[in-house]
C-alpha cells in the first residue's frame, strides 16, 4: 500500500533529477599531427573545459579501438589546421549535442561576429519539469485508478466473493462504485503530493487557475476509474486483467501520450490512435494550465473530450455489467 503513495514521489524525483539529457562529462581523446600554436590553444581549451575529460593523446591507428570499446565518446583529430571531430554516435542519444558542444569550444577560439540571443517563453530556464510532471500525473493516475481498481474487482470475481455481493439487495453498480472509493481517495492524496512536490521542489509554477487544474485532475481520475471498471468486466483472472492493463493502457500511454516523446512526430496511423488515449488530452490540458497559465476557457476542447470519454466508459461498463447478470 505504501508503494502506491511513494511511487509518485519517486517518479517525480527521478524525472526531476536523474533523467536528463544534460551533458555532464564527455570523455575524449585527441590525435595530434604537429604542435602548432593553434593546436596548443585548442588543446588547452579542451583540457580546461569542465565538461570535457581529455583522456590522452593517441595515435590515429588507435582511434577505432578506443571508440569501439567505449573508452571515449569522441576523438578530435587535429591535422593541417583542420579539426575533425569523430563521434561515437552509437553510444549516446546526445552525440549530436556532444558534437556541437565540442565544435563550439573549438570554434570559440576563432572570430565569429555572428551572435545569437535566445529567449524562452514561459520557461526561461528550459526546465524539463514542465514537460514531464503532467506526464507523470497522467501515468500515476491511470496506474492507480485503472489498474488497481481493475485487478481488485477481478480478484473478487476470481475468489467468488463478487457473487455473494451480487446476490445481496444492493444494486451491483453501487458495489463496484464502493470499490473505487479507496482508490479515489488514494489518488487525491497522490494528486496533492505531486502538486506540492512539483511546486516546491521542482519549481514548477501553478500559474493557472488552481480550481481549473483541480477540476481537470479530478475528471481524469474519474476517467481512470471508469477505465479500470470497464476493463474489469472483460477479464476473468487477475493475471489476464493485469496483462490487458499493461498492454492496452500502460504502453500506449508511455508511448503515445506525449509524455516522453513528442506527439507531432508520430506517423499518421499512430497519431490517430493517440487521439483515443485519454492521457494525451489530459497531458496537453495540464501543460496549458500549469505552464501557460490558461484557465478553463483555454482547455475547453480537451476538457469536453475527457468528459465524453468518462461518460462513454461509464455507460459501457454498466451495460456490460448488466449483460453479465442475465
Amino acid at each position: 500500500m505504501m508503494i502506491v503513495l511513494i511511487m509518485p514521489v519517486i517518479l517525480l524525483m527521478l524525472f526531476g533529477f536523474a533523467i536528463s539529457t544534460e551533458i555532464n562529462e564527455i570523455p575524449i581523446a585527441v590525435v595530434v599531427d604537429e604542435y602548432t600554436p593553434e593546436v596548443r590553444r585548442d588543446l588547452t581549451a579542451l583540457e580546461n573545459n569542465p565538461y570535457i575529460t581529455l583522456t590522452g593523446i593517441i595515435e590515429e591507428r588507435d582511434v577505432d579501438q578506443v571508440l569501439r570499446s567505449g573508452k571515449v565518446s569522441a576523438v578530435v583529430m587535429m591535422r593541417d589546421g583542420k579539426r575533425n571531430v569523430v563521434l561515437d554516435a552509437a553510444n549516446s542519444s546526445m552525440s549530436v549535442s556532444a558534437g556541437s558542444y565540442i565544435t563550439s569550444i573549438l570554434r570559440s577560439g576563432t572570430t565569429m561576429p555572428l551572435s545569437v540571443t535566445t529567449y524562452m517563453r514561459h520557461n526561461p530556464q528550459l526546465k524539463s519539469a514542465y514537460n514531464f510532471v503532467p506526464g507523470v500525473m497522467g501515468l500515476i493516475f491511470i496506474l492507480i485508478c485503472a489498474m488497481m481498481t481493475c485487478v481488485s474487482v477481478v480478484r473478487e470475481k476470481e475468489t467468488g466473493t463478487m457473487e455473494v455481493l451480487l446476490v445481496s439487495p444492493i444494486k451491483p453498480i453501487y458495489i463496484v462504485l464502493a470499490k473505487m472509493v479507496p482508490y479515489f481517495i488514494l489518488s487525491l492524496i497522490n494528486l496533492a503530493t505531486i502538486l506540492l512536490l512539483s511546486h516546491f521542489v521542482l519549481d514548477m509554477p501553478i500559474s493557472g487557475n488552481l480550481p481549473t487544474l483541480l477540476t481537470l485532475c479530478v475528471l481524469y481520475i474519474l476517467l481512470s476509474l471508469m477505465l479500470g471498471l470497464f476493463v474489469s468486466t472483460m477479464a476473468l483472472s487477475q493475471v489476464v486483467a493485469l496483462l490487458i492493463c499493461a498492454m492496452v493502457m500502460m504502453i500506449p500511454i508511455i508511448m503515445l501520450s506525449g509524455m516522453m516523446f513528442p506527439v507531432e512526430n508520430l506517423p499518421p496511423v499512430l497519431k490517430q490512435i493517440s487521439y483515443i488515449v485519454p492521457a494525451r488530452w489530459f497531458i496537453e490540458a495540464v501543460r496549458k494550465v500549469m505552464v501557460e497559465g490558461l484557465s478553463m476557457s483555454g482547455i475547453l476542447k480537451e476538457f469536453s473530450i475527457l468528459c465524453l470519454m468518462t461518460i462513454a466508459l461509464f455507460a459501457g461498463s454498466i451495460k456490460k455489467f448488466n449483460d453479465r447478470l442475465e
Binding site: I3, M7, I10, L11, L14, A18, I19, T21, E22, N24, I26, L67, R68, S69, G70, G81, R83, N84, V85, L87, D88, A89, A90, S92, S93, V96, S97, S100, T103, T110, M112, P113, L114, S115, V116, T117, T118, Y119, M120, R121, N123, L126, S128, Y130, M148, V151, Q238, M247, M255, L256, F261, P262, E264, N265, L266, P267, L270, R287, V291, E292
Partner: protein, 374 residues
Amino acid sequence: MKSVLPILMRKEITQFRRNKVLPRLVMMMPIMLVLIMPLVTQMDIKNISVVVLGEDRSLLSTRIESHLANSDYFRMPESAYDYNHAVELMDQGRVDLIVSIPAHFERDMRNGHGKPISLTANAVNATKGGQGIQYATQTIISAVTEIAAESGLSAEGGLSVEGGLITVQNRYNPTGNYRHFMLPALMIIVLLLVCTFLPLLNIMTEKEHGTIEQINVTPVSRWEFILAKLIPYWILALVMIGFAMLLAWAVYGLVPAGNPLNIFIGAFLFSLCMSGFSVTIANISNTMQQAIFVLFFFVIQFMLLSGLFTPISSMPTLAQWLTYAFPPRYVINIFRSVYLKGTLFTELWFDYTMLFILAAVFYTLATFTYKKQN
C-alpha cells in the same frame, strides 16, 4: 535421490503451453515493440513552425530565411507583421519559434559590428524549444558560412566563420538513424518484461491457488524448485531475442556489427539476473496485487535509470553509483556496443563480469528467500 528437475520442468512447460494467453503474448510483444516503438520514439523534433521577422532585405537575410524554409526541421505556414503579432501567434500555438533579424544586418556584419539575431522559442515543451533553438542556430550559421564562401571573403573580411574548417563525423551511425540506436534498447525492454513479470506471476498464482504448499510438503529442495521455474524462462528469453533480432533485420535491415553470440550471452546473463530478482520479490509477497506493484516499481526504476532513454552520464553522480547495481545498465551497453560498434567480448569484460556477479547474487537471494517452512 536422483534429481527432480526434469520432472518439474516438464510440468512448467506443459502449463505454459496450455495457457491461452501467455504464449500469444510472448509472440506479440517483440513484434509490437520492434515494429511500433521505433516509429514513436523520435527524439528529433520536426515540423517546427517558424516565423522570420526583419526589415533587412539583404542577401544574407534572405539566404537565412530560405535555409530555414528548406530545412527538414522547419516549416513556415504563418507570417507575422511584427514581433507582437508573432508572439500572439505563438500563444495560440501556431508558431513555435520566432527569428528576428535586425535592420541593416548584413551591412553591420560586414563592418564587424554585427547585431545579434534574436530567437524566441515557445519553451512550454522544453525539449522542443531547446532543439528548435539549436537547429535554428545551426541553420543560420550554415547560411552565413555559405555566403562567406561565395563572397570569397577571408578571415579579415569580418564576415568570416571558421566553421568551415571544423567537420563532424558520426561514426557507427552515419545515418544518425535514431531507430538503429533504439532497437537494441527495445529488445532489452522485451527481455526485461518477460523475465520479470512472467516468473513472478507464475509463482504468485501457485501461492494463491495453494499448489505451492503441496510442493513444500514434498522433499523437493528449494534450489531445484526455483531452478525448474526459471530455466524455461531463460530459454524463452533466448528465443525471443533471436526472434527480435530476426525482426530487426527483416524490417529495418539492422544487423549486428559484432558477434551475435555476444548478444546471446548478454541476454542469457541478463535473464538470469532479472528472473532471480523477480522470484525474490515473489517469495516475500503475500498477494498477487502486492507482488505486481512492488515489481512494477522496480521495473520502472530500471527502465528509466539504466541508460535506455537518457544517458547515464547525464545523471547526478549519486544516481550513477546506484546504477552499478542495475543489471539493465550492463546489458544495454553490451547490446548497443555489439550491435552498432562491433565491440569485442574482451572489450566488454567489465559488463559481462558484473552481469555474472549480479546473476549469482540474485539467484542466491531467490533461493534463500524461498521458505518451505515458516
